[in-house]
Each structure stands twice: as structure tokens, then as C-alpha cells.
């Protein structure tokens, strides 16, 4: 049947424009796919072991250092795990402030990804730098948006990488209403830029590639879930946060030393597309309008549309930040002090949030002095690794059938990896992945 080429040997050392170090290997001999792997060659970093012996006050300062891009997400999950172990119930004010910080991180990361890492592929250039001359308005817009996201974090938690102000139980320093009003005015300034991002991506055509998989995210009845909720999958499974092990099954597969994650199928997907597929009905109306303009409909099984779902989420988060700021300004800021002492009892806690790349789990055990005795972290990119390879296995034959050249296939696979927005530094706190 195959009129197209029967052999292929693609080897990409150090995929560029992704966070962390990864290699792609794909080999076809006599029409048979014999090798199709994403090697992750990041050094092991051992964060779970290093958490042991740290104080409840410092767990977040260690775990934010897992990732420069999702530092506020790791911080959010870490604080929730510690608060859960303490039996601490967050105030409404803290909940609102934390949600804004987490939204700001989705905005920061998604804008970084779609403009700086993905867009160069569609303009046919190696990076965003040449675009500064040819598409100055686009690059300046990207910089304005990114600067706004980091500004929100700077005002609320000192900085985005790595947050300072938030601690177990609340904040060391609270913003005044005046500061929040100024922040709201800054946020309001970029509304046109947020919409222009949608318009830009509506003109870019994502490659055609469909492969249905199991989509995992958190969900709750009150909102498009980022900060809080039960785990769910598109196959209909559901688990409370503490029972995350019922859905997230970590395993070591024979051909790799990676702890892959799966539920009942061979792989699952987390991230913006998974959240969109599971929770799209709860998006802000303007985000729904953006999805329509971008041609994104749930359920969507094209991995490349993870990029599109990220753009949709930027619209949602942007308007939700405005709403949360309005609520905080209206309610006024109460001078709430975080607890300074540990509860005096041993405890165990789980914190789950959605970070830009998907569902993130922090799970800690504490002794009665508030010192960590055990830790487990489940990182989104790890959850996606098996799915990336499953996509490779479906996509390479399709590309060969379409008669694509070796170079075109190499580029297409790089774009596919990039669509997952993998955060390889993150994923290797659990394992060093070497697909062989």
C-alpha cells in the first residue's frame, strides 16, 4: 500500500523552545516503526528526598524551585498540601488572592508559550528575536502582556519566579485596597491586547492530527477549575484530591526508566486542552466567544489545539482576574495574620491545582513538630510523557503516508512536542527519563 518512503531516521538532540532538555528519536525501517521516543536527558534533582527534614514554613521555598515557569503553581499546590496537613481552612480573602496569583501564572506561561515558543514555527523563523524586526507590533504586544502577568505576581507575592509573600495560612504582607485598585487599572489597560492575541491565533492553522485519548483535569461545580476540585477524566472517572492514586497510576515501563502515568488506558493527557474538554461549559462568556472564533469545539482530539486552548484560557483568566480584583476591592482588605506555629500534631496533606501544563499534585507527611517526613509530587509533564509517545506512534505513519520529507517530519514532531508545552525540568524531579 505504501507509496511513500519506507525508511525514516529522525534524530533531534535538544529540542529547542521547550523548558528543559529533551531529544526526539524516530526510526522507520521497511515501513515498520521501530523506534519512536522522547528522551528526557535532564539531570535528576531529587526534590521529594530533599523535602524530608524541611520545616512546614519552608516546604514552599524549596518546591517553588522545581520550576521557573510554574513557580507560583508549585507554590499554590505546596501551600494547599501543608494547609491540608494542618487542618487549616483558608479565608475567602486568601482564596481570592491565591486564585489571582494562579491565574497570573497561567497568563504568564501561556503567553510565553504561544508567542515566544510556538509562534516562531508559524512565521517560519527560529525564535522570537527576528520577529522583533518583521512583526514589531506582535512582539511588543507579547512583551506588554507578559510584563502584566509578572506585574500581578510582583504586586501580590513579590515576584513570579519565585513567589515570596504567600505562606501557609495566608500572606506575610497584604496589598491595600489602593494597591489593588492600581493593579486593576493596569490589568484593564491590556484588554485590547488580550483580544488581539485571539485574532492573531485565529489566522494560524494548526496541523491536522486527531488521536482521541483520556483527558484528565480537576473540576468543581462553581467555576472553570484551576485552584480547587476533584480529579476527573473524560472516561468518567472521578476521585477526591486525597484519593488521587485512584486515577493517577505511576508506573515504570520496560522500555524506559520514566515513571509514566496512566489511568485505565495506555496514556492520558493533562493541560489546557484536557481542561477545555472537561470543563468548557464553565468558561467566561468572552472565552467561549474566543473559542468559537478560534474554531475550538469540545471534545477536541487534536493535540496541536492545546496551543489554541491555551489562548482560550488566557481570555478566561484575564476576565476572572478582573472579577476577583473587583470582589476584593469591594469587600476591603482585612488584616488577617497567618499562623506562626505548627498545630502540634502529625499530619498528612494533599494539594492539587491546575498549573499551565496540567494537574499538579503535592502530597506531604509531617511529624508533630511540622517537619516533612515524606513527600510525593506528581508533575503534569510526567503525566503527558506516555501520551506524547502514543501521539508519535500515530503521527509518524500519518506524516509518511502524506509523503512528508524527513526534515518536514522532524519539524512536525518538534512542533508536536512543543504543543504539549513540556516542562522537562519539572518532570525530572521524580525521574530522569531515558526512553530507549
Amino acid at each position: 500500500m505504501a507509496k511513500a518512503a519506507k525508511t525514516l531516521d529522525v534524530r533531534v538532540d535538544y529540542v529547542t523552545r521547550v523548558e528543559g532538555h529533551g531529544n526526539i528519536r524516530a526510526r522507520v525501517e521497511d515501513g515498520e516503526l521501530v523506534e519512536c521516543q522522547l528522551e528526557v536527558i535532564e539531570s535528576p534533582r531529587f526534590f521529594e528526598a530533599m523535602l524530608r527534614g524541611r520545616s512546614w514554613k519552608d516546604a514552599m521555598f524549596l518546591t517553588t524551585r522545581i520550576c521557573g515557569i510554574c513557580a507560583c503553581g508549585h507554590g499554590s499546590a505546596s501551600l494547599k498540601a501543608t494547609e491540608d496537613a494542618m487542618g487549616f481552612v483558608r479565608s475567602e480573602q486568601t482564596e481570592r488572592l491565591r486564585r489571582i496569583v494562579l491565574h497570573a501564572e497561567q497568563l504568564d506561561s501561556h503567553w510565553l508559550h504561544v508567542y515566544f515558543l510556538v509562534a516562531p514555527d508559524f512565521f517560519g523563523v527560529p525564535s522570537v528575536i527576528p520577529l522583533a524586526k518583521t512583526h514589531t507590533d506582535v512582539v511588543l504586544r507579547a512583551m506588554r502582556l507578559k510584563a502584566l502577568a509578572t506585574h500581578i505576581c510582583r504586586v501580590l507575592v513579590g515576584r513570579h519566579t519565585h513567589p515570596i509573600g504567600m505562606v501557609p495560612g495566608g500572606y506575610m504582607k497584604l496589598p491595600s485596597v489602593r494597591v489593588l485598585k492600581d493593579l486593576r487599572a493596569e490589568v484593564a489597560k491590556v484588554e485590547a491586547d488580550v483580544q488581539a492575541t485571539v485574532d492573531l491565533f485565529a489566522t494560524l492553522k494548526m496541523p491536522a492530527f486527531e488521536r482521541e485519548t483520556e483527558y484528565e483535569s480537576i473540576t468543581n461545580a462553581d467555576e472553570y477549575a484551576f485552584f480547587d476540585g476533584d480529579l476527573v477524566t473524560s472516561d468518567g472517572d472521578r476521585a477526591r484530591p486525597r484519593d488521587y492514586g485512584q486515577i493517577i497510576h505511576e508506573s515504570i515501563v520496560r522500555h524506559s526508566s520514566a515513571k509514566h502515568v496512566k489511568n485505565k488506558r495506555e496514556s492520558l493527557m493533562v493541560g489546557a486542552l484536557a481542561r477545555f474538554n472537561n470543563n468548557h461549559k464553565q468558561l467566561h462568556p468572552k472565552a467561549k466567544a474566543a473559542a468559537e472564533k478560534l474554531g475550538l469545539k469540545a471534545p477536541c482530539h487534536n493535540t496541536f489545539h492545546n496551543n489554541t486552548a491555551q489562548v482560550v484560557e488566557t481570555v478566561h483568566c484575564y476576565y476572572d482576574v478582573l472579577r476577583l480584583l473587583d470582589e476584593l476591592i469591594q469587600a476591603g482588605i482585612r488584616d488577617e495574620k497567618p499562623p506562626m506555629e505548627w498545630s502540634g500534631e502529625a499530619g498528612e496533606g494533599v494539594g492539587i491545582v491546575e498549573v499551565p501544563r496540567g494537574t499538579l499534585v503535592h502530597h506531604y507527611q509531617y511529624d508533630k513538630k511540622g517537619i516533612v517526613t515524606g513527600a510525593n509530587l506528581v508533575i503534569p509533564t510526567n503525566q503527558n510523557l506516555a501520551n506524547i509517545e502514543a501521539d508519535f506512534r500515530a503521527y509518524v505513519p500519518q506524516l509518511m503516508k502524506e509523503g512528508k520529507s524527513q526534515d518536514e517530519i522532524r519539524h512536525a514532531l518538534e512542533m508536536l512536542v512543543r504543543a504539549y508545552d513540556p516542562c522537562i525540568s519539572c518532570s525530572t524531579h521524580l525521574v530522569e527519563v531515558e526512553f530507549r
Partner: protein
């Protein structure tokens, strides 16, 4: 005349310092006019055979990292250690105070042999480093200041006084008086008044020790506020584990 060439790369770390470089935003444009970035894997395709200035973040935790550091050194004119992992070892050193075999086993179980690691160390432990930009992460303003100096062929002179000085100038209430074991008393300044102490949080020592810290005064403060040796070691070993003198003094 050809523009000087710059490269950015990472050893073992979170790549947050490279992100801070991206976060400089439009302030980077003048640098991009005066220099060519020939390698910046996190943001771009491409590479070159020689780098006039290399900014390397991350610490060394495997033999592979040692080789990579040496390869970069051999191709580089001015090598700059970017951020705490590269300058002082960063949080990666926390594992140095646990049994290395147990560390591997806790994370990788019976597959631990597949993931060999060596005690975490800063860049200067393996190769000659020409300049350092401290912090976890680096401060974009300090990066811009250092990059300008280096592009003009001048050395970058880092602050050499403790965080306390900046804190006093910022009129902050001393965090020790709020019951927090703040490491600003011996940590190199350059971050304040913008960051931790001004946000009400103790200094966690990410910029490393100031040259010739006043250890006796620090000991007196710690004794006055009733910290145990364990407490003190835990504080210092978040970032500054490589300093033997810290452990000895404690």
C-alpha cells in the same frame, strides 16, 4: 566589526534565571542590537562554535554536568555563573546532607542505579568562572547592569555588604524582632529593598554569604533569639550548604 556573541544555557536547575532574562522585556532590545545571541535553547533554535560571553545557570549534580560545563568553558571567552545554582549550588545542595544512596532509593526505588549523581556543586567547583550574578532567581535589573559592564569589557562588581544594610535604608522593621530567623545578617545584598524582607519575609540566603561575614555577631543574634543548632543548619542548608565554615560556626 562583528558583534560579540552571547549564549545562555542551563545545567541542573529550574531554568528560572533564563526566564528572568526573558522577563527583562523591552530592556533587552538595546543588548540585542549590540550583541548576537547564538545559543539560547529555551527560547531559540541555533548554536555556534565560540561564545564571547556565556551565561550558564544551574548546578552540577551529575558527571554529565561536569563534562558539559567543561565543554562550554572551552568554547567561551567570559563565563558568567547565572543565579544561585551556578554561583553557590542553590537548593540542589540540600541533598548533600542526606545519604546519597538513600536519596536515590527514595525517589527511584529499585531503579536507583540508573540515575547516578554526585554531590551538588556550583560551576566554579569544576571550571574557572569569570563573573557571578547571584540570586534565586537573578534580578533582571542586576542582569542588565552586569551584561552592560561585560559588553563594555569591564568587570561586573557585585555588592559586598549584607542585606541588613539595604533593609535599614528601606526602613524595614528587623524580622528577628518578629520572630523570624532572617539570614540577611550574613547574606550578600543586591536584592533588597525590593524583595523578601520588604515583603515581610525572612531572607533565605539565596545570594550566598557576603565576603568575610561577621560570624560572631550572627552567632550572638541567633543565641539571643534562642535558635538551636538544628534550626540554624536547616536555615543555612537551604541554599548555602557548600560552606563548611557555616556548619563549623554553628
Amino acid at each position: 566589526m562583528a558583534k560579540p556573541t552571547l549564549m545562555f544555557d542551563a545545567l541542573s536547575c529550574c531554568e528560572g534565571c533564563e526566564l528572568q532574562v526573558v522577563n527583562c522585556g523591552p530592556a533587552l532590545l538595546p543588548i540585542l542590537e549590540r550583541a548576537d545571541i547564538v545559543r539560547f535553547r529555551e527560547a531559540s533554535d541555533g548554536d555556534a562554535d565560540h561564545y564571547d560571553i556565556a551565561f550558564v545557570e544551574g548546578s552540577i549534580v551529575t558527571e554529565h554536568d561536569v563534562e558539559k560545563a567543561k565543554e562550554i568553558r572551552a568554547k567561551t571567552g567570559v563565563l558568567v555563573a547565572l543565579g544561585a545554582c551556578a554561583t553557590i549550588g542553590g537548593v540542589n545542595v540540600v541533598k548533600n546532607f542526606q545519604d546519597p544512596d538513600d536519596v536515590s532509593e527514595y525517589v527511584y526505588g529499585d531503579k536507583k542505579a540508573w540515575f547516578p549523581h554526585i554531590p551538588a556543586r556550583p560551576l566554579k567547583a569544576e571550571v574557572k568562572v569569570d563573573a557571578e550574578i547571584h540570586g534565586c532567581p537573578i534580578n533582571p535589573q542586576e542582569f542588565l547592569a552586569a551584561a552592560k559592564c561585560l559588553l563594555m569589557g569591564k568587570p561586573y562588581k557585585q555588592p559586598n555588604y549584607p542585606v541588613c544594610v539595604d533593609c535599614k535604608l528601606a526602613d524595614n522593621v528587623c524580622l528577628w524582632h518578629k520572630g523570624l530567623p532572617c539570614l540577611g545578617i550574613v547574606t550578600r545584598a543586591g536584592c533588597a529593598p525590593f524583595l523578601c524582607p520588604s515583603a515581610g519575609h525572612k531572607c533565605i540566603g539565596c545570594r550566598g554569604l557576603v565576603d568575610d561575614p561577621n560570624a560572631q555577631a550572627a552567632k550572638d543574634v541567633m543565641a539571643e533569639f534562642g535558635l538551636t543548632v538544628d534550626d540554624i543548619l536547616r536555615e543555612f542548608r537551604l541554599f548555602q550548604g557548600i560552606y563548611d565554615e557555616v556548619a563549623k560556626e554553628a
